[in-house]
Amino acid sequence: MGTHLPSTEFDGTAVDDQREADAEAVMGEPAAQMVQLLGPDGKLGADPVFSDYADKLTPEHLRGLYADMAAIRRFDVEATALQRQGQLALWVPLTGQEAAQIGSGRASQPQDYIFPTYREHGVALTRNVDLAELLRQFRGVSNGGWNPRDTNFHLYTLVLAAQTLHAVGYAMGIQRDQKFAAAANGAGKQPDAAVIAYFGDGASSEGDVHESMVFASSYKAPVVFFCQNNHWAISVPTNVQTRVPLSNRAKGYGFPGIRVDGNDVIAVHAVTEWALEHARQGKGPVLIEAFTYRVGAHTTADDPTKYRQSAEEDAWRAKDPLARLEKYLRAEGLADDTFFAKVKADGDELAAYVRRTAHDIENPDIRQAFAKVYKEAHPLVAEELAWFEEYSAGFAGEEESAGHAAKAGH
């Protein structure tokens, strides 16, 4: 038997200049400076720039951030269970990334426009997307599930990093709308808006991210690149993706890059609020690297025990975003058992609602597919629909034949 082995994409990673890997030799101890306000011990620290933003958060806000994070975590558990019960084709769990998503989502304004990946369930919650609607795509009965115009929360994008281009294009559109309004002496002027493009450490290696950052920088587009570095691109660790902190890459494009503790909801909120203001004021894009961790699997079709050790997961659980905020709220006397019991009850109620709704989701009528090809009636589509109706009607006079076909066709 020969010893010839095929080469893999991991060849040559064991070289000396592996700075980021060295820094993360103990995962989660970044060498790069990282903005952190609320530590894992539940103590609130200070930052020369971002403490001012954190101070704006009232106790009511903080309780709200906690309730959001708890709700989305409970939702995540329920959706995972629904997948295991055969009700969803796939689920993409977010557990561990609640602070990064809730903190950034809550920092956005209604007029801002959000481009998510496929894991931003927490951001969806902050944008008032009906979470039960969110399941439609994962059940395979819809290409979207909600109307992005209602919430300024774009449809999930499954093609890695493609949404960063869409986001920069949208941001450049906002710029042009503003110029147009200014030329018309403020007629039809909208409140200043910015765009957030979410992506992950894995997607950061895609060419789309490079192109979008080049354009965003050149045109000073009002866009915030929000990278959740959750340390694992399926089975590929971050230190294989990059040899420098991802936030450092912004320098190369000529705009600010900030690494923030992605498990610190207060810091994430503060940094994102700052970045959105920066963008809305026409100062150009910002890259935020939220340093966090995907505690669960990449998707329900993934098994992380095959490529990482539970000790690493445990180390990150010790930095849990909910636990540290609970410590802080209790220590400061801002929330009591009644509050946490109510949060839990709300979570269970949300889960029950999602479960009911998921069971009730109807398979769509295939005619919907014809109706949505073009905005206006189109002769070719009409011809194809007519052919389909004729074909369906050809089945032994069954009244329901079209319905059957519709079910099979989705």
């Binding site: 991991f10 890997a21 557990t95 079709a301 993934d302 025990t305 009644t338 709300d346 479960r355």
Partner: protein, 499 residues
């Protein structure tokens, strides 16, 4: 009472089957929604399945250790709950919160987290029971494979149960990992939930490409010393393990495997293909089609050894490898000319009961060679026309080409007579099997010093044994004997070649 059946879902993307590793419930147990009922292993991972129903377990429909197709009903749950009439949509109450807190029901409806449209909620509540019975899982993504059944997975003997066994032992001895996997964990709200998505069994860490290589090489990752930065098995670990394993194989120490390993796991299965398959086919054909007769003769090859020694020293043969095989080859060619029937083929006439013997008035001398690709028998075309030196060169080229594994098919076709040099491996003699299409083969045994009686005295001489197998349809005993005697005569006195 309604019986709800839970069909095995596709928990990955496009999986078609899974094995029930262990049941976490038994008939009669009360289950709530999302209680873990069993652990299954798919081609991708081990996962826990949460119950979609609340009620009482009626029957486990698939025993542990059995692999079933996606869509197969695995458990039935009756909706009767003894004592606890929890609605299907609410999970069994837990009490991590202090009991004296007036909890949920009386608190105003508005949740603390972001707003949600609640319009449909109450309506949907009424459908709760109906929803719970709509149990057909959406087994969506992957195309349901045809009736193709994959080989069932190996199961440990302890859990080998017939597929139709009506009931399973409710309390199976569980693996330590299964015991430590607290079933409550999945319905626990503590921030550890993410981990329960995946199997809780601790296994060897390795990236998927490394796993694939290990699988291809037949290496059990658990046997490999891991040096990765996170304790994972790396590609380099595999390479060094493989090198070590090869070395061990050489030593043959590891050949018998670990002590106590069952014998049925100690059988190495090697697919028969390529050269091995061709060799096997040719040998069976030859052995069963041609009635073999084998004869042997001991020869004093001392003069051959001297002759070889002189040739090596001669300027004419400088740089050319000379061995006793060269003399034997020349001897075989010489002897064949004197006994032409050994250089022939038996040819059955198509469609009739008649046959012909084709005597070849040329010698395509085959040399059996062990090559990296297996046994090859390339031949030297028109060997009868070659001088001793040319024959030496031809033998060299043939050996070099064969050892490099570069022998071309044409070089192996059209052979008329074959020599197999088993002496090179230190063997005295053997009964070779005739190369198909020929009628004779000569086995050249090892040449070593032995006591030999010469003129009434025992003296050490260089002795070898020649073996020959002949197709008795063509070559009778006396002819084969004369041919072998001629070959032996040359080895005893190479000067006869000058004849």
């Amino acid at each position: 009472m309604t019986l709800n059946k839970f069909n095995l879902p596709d928990v990955g993307e496009g999986l078609t089957e899974a094995e029930i590793v262990s049941w976490k419930v038994k008939p009669g147990d009360a289950v709530a929604i999302n209680d873990v009922i069993c652990e299954i292993e798919t081609a991708k991972s081990i996962v826990e399945l949460p119950s979609p129903f609340a009620g009482t377990v009626n029957e486990l429909l698939v025993p542990e250790g059995v692999t079933v197709d996606v869509g197969t009903a695995i458990i039935s749950v009756s909706d009767e709950v003894s004592g606890d009439p929890t609605p299907a949509d609410v999970r069994a109450p837990q009490a991590p919160v202090a009991a004296d807190v007036p909890v949920a029901p009386d608190v105003p409806a508005q949740p603390l987290y972001g707003k949600l449209s609640r319009d449909a909620a109450d309506e949907a509540l009424a459908d709760g029971a109906a929803a719970a019975t709509s149990n057909a899982p959406l087994v969506g993504s992957g195309p349901k494979a045809d009736a193709v059944k994959r080989r069932p997975r190996k199961t440990s003997p302890a859990t080998a149960v017939t597929a139709n066994a009506p009931e399973v032992e409710p309390v199976q001895p569980r693996t330590p990992a299964a015991v430590s996997a607290n079933p409550a964990a999945v319905v626990d709200n503590r921030p550890t939930i993410g981990g329960t998505i995946t199997g809780l069994v601790n296994r060897v860490l390795a990236k998927p490409p490394v796993r694939k290589i290990a699988r291809d090489l037949g290496i059990d990752l658990a046997d490999v010393v891991a040096t990765g930065s996170r304790g994972e098995v790396t590609r380099e670990d595999l390479v060094s393990y493989q090198a070590q394993r090869d070395a061990e194989l050489d030593k043959a120490d590891g050949f018998w495997g670990k002590v106590g390993k069952p014998q049925d796991q100690r059988v190495e299965r090697i697919p028969v293909k390529g050269v091995r398959k061709a060799t096997a086919k040719a040998m069976v054909e030859s052995a069963f089609a041609a009635p073999h007769v084998s004869i042997f003769v001991d020869v004093d090859a001392s003069r051959t050894m001297e002759f070889v020694k002189r040739l090596k020293a001669s300027r004419d043969f400088e740089g050319i490898k000379v061995s006793p095989l060269l003399i034997l080859a020349k001897a075989v060619i010489w002897a064949a000319a004197r006994n032409p029937s050994v250089n022939a083929a038996w040819v059955d006439n198509e469609g009739s009961d008649t046959a012909e013997i084709h005597v070849k008035h040329y010698m395509n001398l085959g040399i059996a060679a062990a090559t990296p690709r297996g046994l090859m028998v390339p031949n030297i075309k028109n060997a009868q026309d070659l001088s001793l030196k040319e024959l030496a060169l031809a033998l060299n080229n043939l050996a070099v080409t064969a050892r490099a594994g570069k022998t071309q098919p044409a070089e192996m076709q059209g052979g008329t007579l074959t020599i197999t040099n088993i002496g090179a491996l230190g063997i005295d003699t053997g009964t070779p099997i005739i190369n198909p299409g020929e009628v004779a083969i000569v086995a050249f045994g090892t040449i070593k010093q032995k006591p030999w009686v010469l003129d009434g005295e025992v003296i050490p001489r260089w002795i070898t044994t020649l073996g020959g197998s002949f197709d008795h349809r063509v070559v009778d005993g006396d002819l084969s004997a004369r041919f072998m005697a001629d070959v032996a005569a040359i080895l005893e006195e190479p000067a006869l070649l000058l004849d």
